[in-house]
Amino acid sequence: MNIKSQKDFFSGLLFMCTGVAFAWGASDYTIGNGARMGPGYFPLVLGILLAVLGAMLTFKALVVETMDGDPIGRLAWKPLFFIIAANLVFGALLGGLAPIKLPAMGLVAAIYALTFIASLAGDAFKFKEILVLASVLALVSYLAFILLLKLPFLVWPAFITA
């Protein structure tokens, strides 16, 4: 059997799995009845509904012809990896990461790290340019978030200020 629409096929699978997972999880909670709904009632109904919708979508993707097969295409691993990594490193530097004993390094260090890692996701990587960009962003963030909005951020590494 051929998949007629790749996008719909995998969307359907995704819906089915999530629906079943939620319904299964909901069955751990009290279900109750219509008049006295337990915490599991609504998620159970929705989970089943989502699974059914997913099954319909998958079925449709196997049966209904499309023009070009709706290919998903290649995943853009590079931007995906670097954008998410930039985000995670930012969090780790800003707040510290207890499991690996990384102390909180503060906003400025986090901004430089984020800008450099995120820039790796782009087509061209020019060191000097990104250094300038990171400095500008750090300055603007300091002015906007710390001075103007007074957000309670750690600006410099904890072991220096403490």
């Binding site: 009290t30 449709k60 995906l80 998410i84 800003l94 996701a121």
Partner: protein
Amino acid sequence: MDLIANLSLGFGVAFTAQNLMYAFVGCLLGTLIGVLPGIGPLATIAMLLPATYALPPVAALIMLAGIYYGAQYGGSTTAILVNLPGESSSVVTVIDGYQMARQGRAGPALAAAGLGSFFAGCVGTLILAAFAAPLTELAFKFGPAEYFSLMILGLIGAVVLASGSLLKAVGMIVLGLLLGMVGTDVNSGVARFTFDTPELTDGIGFIVIAMGVFGYGEIISNLSKHESERQVFTAKVSGLMPTKEDFKNMLPAVLRGTTLGSILGILPGGGAVMAAFAAYTLEKRTRLRPGEVPFGKGNIRGVAAPESANNAGAQTSFIPLLTLGIPPNAVMALMVGAMTIHNIQPGPQVMTSNPELFWGLIASMWIGNAMLVVLNLPLIGIWIKLLSVPYRWLFPAIVLFCAVGVYSTNNNTFDIWMVGLFGMVGYLFHKLGMEPAPLLLGFILGPMMEEYLRRALLLSRGDWSVFLTRPLSAGLLAAALVLLVLVLMPSVKSKREEAFIED
């Protein structure tokens, strides 16, 4: 005259130096992000939401509202000048607007978009002011059954008007509703789907989902395109004023666009994007006057109508939010978030308990619209310059503002891990052609829906027929059914697909 008394109260609030400033900042930011392709009002409002903690509630809402309708103005500038929709609601403006620019008529096109938007904004604000009070009274007649049915109608509306596959859109809504279930159940106190993570007992942060899916997801998919596809091109702008002939063509198109936009904005699931599509389709179906340029070749009506419609729709979509407390689209869902941050429960009681907020917001919209015309027409040159900022400088900044915004809501790095997760999910959605906006709407409505369903069935002792025996509720459900049948009818179905393929 209640209306006049109310409006003067509103203008009194809006005309303070502070609120005028925030309206201006909102409009400016809105135009800015509207001009820049790839950042929408949704992501921007999500980013700025945490920053509004420190502001008084009126100022915060005025600013956020300014961003929303400012983006409708800015989006048209990019659409006309560089053949790129700066905003999803200007997708159809691209078709005729860019053709006009290529013929050296960018000025009249921009003016038509600006003036049309201004007119539509004024009308939309008036409608909002006039209909808010009676609708609020109606809202007090609503019981839990009515609210539940209304939400069903809203969600069906969102599906019907979403682009692409119907089945997928329904699936996204249900997925959103389920994500809304994560966290502590208000009735039993049971922590649901939290995997024993204390940070999840309050539920998944709304900002986390919005930023992850819309912010990061969008950046990643933008970056996956080759640079040439993102290329922007600046055309020469000369002469602003439309000719007399242009005005003659424009006027009826603006009127039609405004009417259509106002209606679609009020309907749940509507809002600016759909209004623009519908208005363009309508214009295409009206007959061309002798000597008029055909559509797709630079017809000024093809710019004026959708631009008026999206602005009118942006204004009137505040009606369901302010009167019933139900967000008709994803941006309004964010406004619910903004209101709850400031301890304002959106709903019919806002008008009586916070009249200065309610009318101040409405009045500020008119002021904002006036500011936008002033801002947009003379500043077009600057906006064009801004478009030449390379994307490689832009996206690290966006990533940074997303991350800071997410962190600052709870001062907790857990939210940063979550937004990373949702960024990946967002990219997956993009790859699979699943539209995230219905998901966000479902996420907001999920807990509310469950609560109203519970209350309604508790009152009826488990009898489901309560939704059909109460006339208001039955009417709303009937409307939802009609909507659904309408889209499923073959003739409408093909037209709907046609309307979305045109971009």
